[in-house]
Amino acid sequence: MRIRVIGAAALLLAGLAGCGADRPAAGDPVRLMVFGTPEELASYRTLISAYDKAVPGRPVQLVEASDRKDLIARLSTAVAGGAPPELFLMNYRYYGQFAARGAIDPVDTRLASSTAIAARDLYPQALEAFQWAGRQYCLPQNVSSLAVYYNKRLFARYGVAPPKPGWHWNDMVATATALTRDVHGNVANAVEAEQAPAPVDVYGLGTEASIVRLAPFVWSHGGQVTDDDRAPTRFALQTPAARAAVQQFLDLRQRFGVTPPDEEVESMDDESRFVNGRLAMLLSSRRSTTTFRAASDLDWDVAELPRHTAPANVLHSDAYCMTKGARNPDGAWRFLEFALSPAGARIMAETGRTVPSHMAVAQSPAFLDPARPPASARVFLDAIGHMRRTPTVATWPEVEDIAADLFENAFYRGDPLDRVLADLDRQTRPVFARAGRP
């Protein structure tokens, strides 16, 4: 008898829980999962509070992950647990693993019937990056690319001319060399810093040794990153054009010593070094802008990426993706419409975080206002014309991690390039083979 009562109670509780799960969810908050620096997160909060004012009673909750890997881990476990956030913001290089597994709700039907936003208003380069198997899976929030951030005060102090439009790779190396200074202000030999007569105080250039930093220079030199960017089966960095571009990239540290060595990077990351006036130039995307704007006494601007033979750049675009099986998809879509509408895109552009994917907003003072640094923000728009993207296959995050490890060893520890490229090919081919194709 007692067992029957307990069983009935358990069934009742389960039934109640089930009813709770299935109830209409229009009033539930829309959860938006993102990661970023405190300044970036502040931008998203600004957008959400604007939405709260514009559409009262439709709460949006920001779910903050610590970094990209944490976001992927939390998102996958939330999906597996049957309680995914309604929306998440993800770079095109990483959304493939979720698209391939059916965790994302395509938005093309909603987009076609929307009166608030239209595909024709958004940059096609960013839109296409989020198309999987012929469908639009996510909608791009930004259309960023790589730029050279530079500290104007350091250039002026050492009498070095700022970057000019159309500058060459060699110009960048010469500029970085002229700006790499020891504590006495003399041009420093920073290849073997410990053998130098005085410690290095300012480095000429900061960059990661990763595929996404290397790629535009490989393309600019006439090479390819993979054998087929749509359906890659292996890297194609062993061709003479690509190899030469990679070697010149590695020379920044190994031959010219214009970038900080790894122990310096471990002690202070490149963005902090730039803010502290100890790094003259930094290769980064638009996401650094919010951090640099927060540094009030920093005098800085951006310049276009230098070229080898042809101008080239790499897409850095994040998009809002709707998870399949979320409780409040309609609420998520309403917020997404607001975020990508001219009003929403303008708010995000004004925070400095984005190069807006909305074409009209990108061309407006909300983004181009010279009073808000960077004064040369148009550099980001000029890059769109010669922008390419890396693959979006499901295993690309794993491929990038392997490549980052190997290039880090080559860049900082001088591993021979031939060995690195051979290892890269050997280690990534099985990973490419496991990938789902868009």
């Binding site: 476990t77 597994r101 410990e194 471990e266 295993t395 880090e408």
Partner: protein
């Protein structure tokens, strides 16, 4: 209620927790090891494919080697330090209480906070450890003219850093060994003193054999733990690096494979290997302990 029923009633909550939180997940992990599962779509049976892939998987081999080396170095080092502290601090005395608290304290610090603290201590340029090592040297070199260890950027110093971190969290081992030492009969030591035994002889011939059973059990337990305790420091302090995978231990390998690359089936197969290794280590130490008992305990 009979004694047996009472014992069963008292054990029931623990047994239920064990079944629910340990045995059921372990069984599910073993089952998942034979599937391809990304935590999003349903698992797909792949038989022994994951185990076959592990056999030739370079990052797994590296993680396995790192874990075995960590266990081989860290476990004896932790036990030696805990035993040393216990022998040093078992007698009551001035400030002994304070010293015991200091020995215990690092164990009480939350793991992530502890990791972040060492991240600062081991900072290659600004960290106090290397600052201390470069006292008396010039231009960033030590007094003997060498570069200080690049704790976070070179493989061997990074592995050493993780072991050093683990060595300071011996509070629990210390307390257990302190208790074991304090219950040893004083007469045995008085007899040894009468016989004119020196300190080393007393330690080797009296103390060590008497605490050996406790030491053996702790070694067994610490070996099992060593496959887990390396996770947080490797994640927080070295991020599994320097490349490629110098401080990626099995626990971190499993986490990354499962939660970052969404290969939960493959990660489960690696976990099964960890379970088998742990079982083997326990069996070997149990056997050694059994031999010791049969030889020394009447």
């Amino acid at each position: 209620m009979s004694d047996r029923r009472q014992a069963a009633a008292m054990l029931a909550p623990y047994a239920a927790g064990l079944a629910l939180l340990v045995f059921a997940p372990a069984a599910a992990t073993v089952a998942l090891a034979f599937t391809e599962w990304d935590a999003i779509s349903p698992p797909r049976w792949v038989g022994l494919a994951n185990l076959r892939e592990l056999w030739g998987h370079e990052p797994f081999h590296k993680a396995l080697t790192n874990s075995l080396v960590f266990a081989a170095v860290a476990v004896p080092a932790r036990l030696a330090l805990a035993l040393g502290l216990a022998l040093l601090l078992h007698r009551p005395g001035r400030r002994v209480g304070l010293a015991r608290t200091v020995a215990l304290l690092p164990t009480a610090v939350p793991e992530v906070a502890y990791g972040l603290l060492w991240l600062w201590l081991f900072n290659p340029l600004a960290g106090p450890v290397n600052r201390a090592l470069t006292v008396g040297g010039g231009n960033g070199l030590t007094a003997w003219g060498a570069l200080p260890p690049q704790w976070l950027t070179m493989p061997t110093p990074a592995r050493a850093a993780i072991i050093i971190m683990s060595v300071f969290t011996v509070g629990e081992l210390f307390v257990l060994l302190l208790a074991a030492r304090r219950v040893l009969p004083a007469e045995v030591y008085e007899l040894a003193a009468v016989e004119g035994a020196g300190r080393w002889q007393v330690f080797r011939r009296v103390t060590l054999p008497l605490v050996a059973p406790v030491l053996g059990l702790l070694a067994l337990r610490d070996t099992v733990l060593s496959f887990q305790v390396s996770f947080t420091p490797a994640l927080v302090v070295t991020d599994g690096g320097p490349p490629q995978g110098a401080t990626t231990y099995l626990s971190l390998f499993v986490y990354r494979t499962g939660f970052e690359y969404l290969r939960h089936g493959f990660a489960a197969a690696a976990t099964v290997v960890v379970l088998l290794l742990t079982a083997a280590a326990v069996a070997a130490q149990w056997w050694l302990l059994g031999r010791y008992r049969s030889r020394y305990v009447p």
